[in-house]
């Protein structure tokens, strides 16, 4: 049994302590926006925020999370699909198949929290997610546009 705080709500989950956060989120809580793809912490499809930082949830056992830690999944990023990153992504039609995009968006959102105006090199270092359709150019433009939206007082 673990007690977690996910998207602002405290939840008790009855799982083996070694279960990765990804599978708790997907299978216990039904929040399937966070994706499985590699399971070894490389591709970033499973990216969520823990206390504001982007983490790979597929290799993070729930036992390593302390009770008060704030976990944010794509479903909790905004109430109305209007986080600056989501606004920018909609404006530029970023997703193709879309499977990696929740992770991509969570990585981008965490970067912007930490760095309001990331340079291209900051994006290169922070967004290491894999996308096989090939959305990278629009992802990059999307992050710059989201920074602008945020600066101009867009919802967050």
């Amino acid at each position: 049994m673990a007690t977690l705080k996910i998207n602002g709500e405290r939840v008790d989950v009855d799982v083996d302590a070694s279960t990765p956060l990804l599978w708790v989120v997907r299978e216990q809580l039904g929040l399937t926006g966070t994706k499985y793809s590699c399971g070894i912490g490389i591709c970033g499809s499973c990216t969520v925020h823990v206390d504001g930082a982007a983490v790979r949830s597929c290799t993070l056992p729930v036992s390593e999370l302390a009770e008060g830690q704030e976990i944010l999944t794509i479903e909790g990023l905004s109430a109305n699909n209007d986080h600056p990153v989501q606004q920018a992504w909609a404006e530029l039609d970023v997703p193709q198949c879309g499977y990696c995009q929740p992770g991509m968006i969570m990585a981008a959102a965490a970067l912007l929290t930490e760095n309001a105006e990331p340079a291209d090199t900051d994006i290169d270092a922070a967004v290491t997610n894999i996308c096989r359709c090939g959305t990278f150019n629009r992802v990059r433009r999307g992050i710059h546009l989201a920074a602008e939206i945020k600066k101009n007082g867009g919802a967050s």
Partner: protein, 735 residues
């Protein structure tokens, strides 16, 4: 026969067919499973089949009373934008309000019941739009005429006095108006007109417009359900492991070791080569499977290795056995013998995995009377056939619900091994929905790989350095021999092997060479090949475009000028090539000391070219910038074409730099993204896309540009370093 009687009989047909659909869905023992919930979550549609009185105008168009326009899409959306493009084609002729358009997938079972009214469901070969544009536009046009006629009849005015625009019908003389939603029910009762005129391309308003995708918003907040995300009431989860050695079988497993693990419900053989653990959650199933002792009967290929395959292909480079001619003109041997200078080179291209981000998966429920499957598939009809076969039921008692794909790239089109497995598992647990999800490791071990080939090219130059003879010998694997033997030519050759070398057609060579011979020595190692985004043009374009570059340098000529001289008969190819060269600044120094390379192909019916700029420092290649041009004839949605062209460089350059599956002990060595890496954003060059539709034909978009990615970069690497890299991938190459 009066119009009314015809209308009634047509109506009866629709009611009969859709009632059959509804009855089918209800016949399933899935308590508490509303079909609407499934479609809303899973396939993004409305509950049309359960509503035989619903305002279906025809198979392609449903208009709701609130003016919502539901456009039916038979092909699959896997990121390539086909869903939006096809909807644009229908909407263009329908004259509807684009802001009111939504889409839904009809099921393959419904297609069978309605005499295949939606045609092909196959989504591959960059054919989504180019193969179906005529009949989907006609579907929109027919619906428009019926809606106008319904309004005219309601007003009791001649139809010719009425017109439609943006979902509003107007009676010209009186100025009266009504909306599609208001006349839809009456229109649905009319018999469709036999002949409709499609619009002249010059009158298109929606086709050619860079409208936003229809499927973006749900992809931003986690709402988009992929196959891997599906949840059904009472559903169990399965993890599977098949014999890692190709053609090997399951020998035995000791389920006593995992039966008592938390959540485990069953440990099952799946067919003759795999074992599955079924549990309450997938994580429980996966961890139990990891702990399950399994022995395999590895079969005859347990010693297969990449080294052995390499030898097999090397032999084919010069052998006279199993050799087929794909294109020939003049006399290549004589041309070479008489050449002032001959150049020879051997290139090699490896096995590659599709590596869709979403691993293979399917959800199935089986009863003695019914089988239903939910899955991401590039070909719903093929998925249905696979489901019926595995279920052991007549196809009429099965159906497949298509779900958006987390990547397809060819893996989910010709192969439905994941559907077969899911059904075989579900069949052992009747009445229980089971979701099968492959691990990435399983996905890497059991792909249908980009085929392996090598290619030896010999070119002859005359005194003035012009190409007079070219001999091309491809050695390696045929996709069709393994996957579609019925598509092979009468002489036993595989025409798909020659993509990019054909004399004419969708994949024609872009050069006129007086003495040409292109051959394929078919060598088929026991590794399952598949159609892989771009198929055989990917390596064939490397072979030809890099070798042309070699010939140009050997002739002491500029690669653009050398090509231009061979392209007199290929003006559209030349046009895209000249465009990228000009836009990139060919002939002038590139920024930051970068060097340039060119490539051009005609493939999947489109003309594409790229100019790459690369720099090399500390032995590492950095692709700085790419200028790419595409002439697809008609450009349905230019901004989606741009996205596909940009994305093609990710797929193509990942393949060039990193993509390789090697074989040891009969199995694929690579197991996940740590040893089968894929590009990240830091590696991504700037891409400038030029969409230059010349009109008059329909070319593909999703694949062509992949073909020019690698050769343009390889030619630029040569320009930068003087090194000719002839073996893909480059990851282990030292520069």
């Amino acid at each position: 026969m009066s119009k009314a009687r015809i209308a009634v009989s047509r109506r009866e047909f629709i009611i009969r067919s859709t009632t059959a659909g509804a009855g089918f869905a209800l016949g399933l023992t899935l308590p508490g499973l509303p079909r609407t919930a499934l479609t809303a979550e899973g396939t993004g549609g409305t509950d049309w089949a359960a509503d035989p009185e619903g305002p279906e105008i025809n198979a392609w168009v449903v208009i709701q009373p609130d003016d919502t326009v539901v456009i039916r899409i038979a092909r699959s959306e896997m990121g390539q934008g086909t869903l939006t493009g096809l909807a644009q084609l229908v909407a263009e002729e329908l004259e509807c309000d684009w802001s009111k358009v939504t889409t839904e997938y009809p099921t393959p079972g419904e297609n069978l019941r309605r005499d295949r009214v939606w045609g092909s469901f196959s989504t591959g070969g960059s054919r989504g739009i180019r193969d179906s544009h005529a009949y989907v536009r006609k579907g929109g046009a027919v619906a428009r005429e019926m809606l106008i006629q319904a309004a005219a009849e309601a007003w009791d005015v001649p139809k010719a006095e009425c017109s439609a625009e943006a979902s509003v019908v107007t009676h010209g003389p009186s100025g009266r108006t009504t909306t599609y939603g208001q006349v839809a029910k009456a229109a649905a009762k009319l018999w469709p007109p036999e002949h409709v005129e499609l619009k002249d391309p010059e009158d298109w308003e929606l086709i050619g417009k860079p409208v936003k995708r229809l499927d973006t918003l749900d992809k931003l907040n986690g709402k988009q359900i992929f196959g891997a995300d599906l949840t059904l009431p009472g559903m169990l989860n399965a993890a599977v492991k098949a014999c890692p050695v190709f053609t090997g079988k399951l020998d035995s497993f000791d389920d006593s070791k995992v039966r008592d693990k938390p959540g485990v419900r069953a440990v099952l053989a799946v067919g003759d080569n795999a074992v599955a653990v079924v549990a309450d959650t997938w994580w429980q199933a996966k961890t139990a499977l990891d702990a399950l002792p399994v022995t395999w009967n590895k079969g005859p290929h347990a010693d297969l290795s990449s080294a052995a395959i390499d030898e097999m292909l090397d032999e084919g480079l010069t052998s006279g056995e199993q050799v087929f001619v794909g294109n020939a003109s003049g006399d290549a041997e004589q041309g070479l013998a008489g050449a002032a200078k001959t150049i020879e080179a051997v290139y090699a291209y490896p096995y590659q995995n599709h590596a869709t981000m979403e691993t293979m998966n399917a959800t199935a429920v089986w009863t003695p009377e019914r089988c239903e499957v939910w899955c991401p598939t590039q070909d719903g009809m093929a998925a249905l056939e696979a489901a019926a076969e595995a279920a052991g039921l007549p196809i009429e008692q099965c159906d497949v619900h298509k779900i958006h794909l987390g990547g397809g790239f060819g893996r989910r089109g010709a192969f439905h091994d994941f559907v077969t497995q899911a059904v075989l598992i579900a069949k052992q647990l009747p009445d229980t929905p089971v979701k099968l999800l492959w691990t990435r490791e399983e996905d890497m071990a059991h792909g249908h790989y980009h085929p392996i080939t090598k290619c030896k090219l010999v070119g002859g130059l005359d005194e003035s350095g012009d190409l007079t003879a070219l001999k091309v010998r491809i050695s390696g694997q045929s996709i069709l021999a393994s996957v579609r033997p019925e598509w092979m030519a009468e002489d036993g050759s595989d025409p798909v092997t020659f993509q990019g070398f054909h004399a004419d057609g969708d994949h024609a060579i872009s050069y006129g060479v007086a003495n040409l011979l292109v051959e394929h020595a078919m060598r088929n190692p026991p590794v399952p090949p598949g159609f892989w985004r771009g198929v055989n043009i990917n390596q064939n374009a490397i072979y030809l475009e890099c070798f042309i570059d070699e010939l140009a340098h050997a002739a002491g000529k500029d690669p653009l000028a050398f090509r231009r001289k061979l392209m007199a008969e290929h003006p559209k190819s030349l046009a895209v090539l000249e465009t990228v060269a000009e836009k990139a600044g060919w002939g002038k120094p590139a920024a930051n000391g970068a060097h340039r390379g060119l490539a051009v192909v005609k493939t999947f019916g489109s003309y594409v070219a790229a100019c790459a700029e690369v720099s090399v420092s500390d032995g590492k290649v950095k692709v700085q910038r790419i200028v790419a041009a595409t002439d697809p004839g008609y450009a349905v949605n230019p901004q989606q074409i741009e996205a596909q062209v940009e994305g093609s460089f990710v797929y193509g350059l990942s393949a060039l730099f990193q993509g390789e599956c090697t074989i040891e002990n009969g199995a694929v060595v690579q197991s996940n993204f740590h040893d089968y890496p894929s590009m990240q954003i830091a590696d991504m060059p700037d891409v400038e896309v030029i969409v230059m539709p010349s009109g008059g034909f329909w070319g593909g978009i999703g694949e062509p540009t992949i073909a020019v990615a690698a050769p343009a970069v390889l030619n630029a690497v040569f320009a930068a370093t003087g090194q000719r890299l002839r073996r893909v991938p480059l990851k282990s190459v030292e520069l």
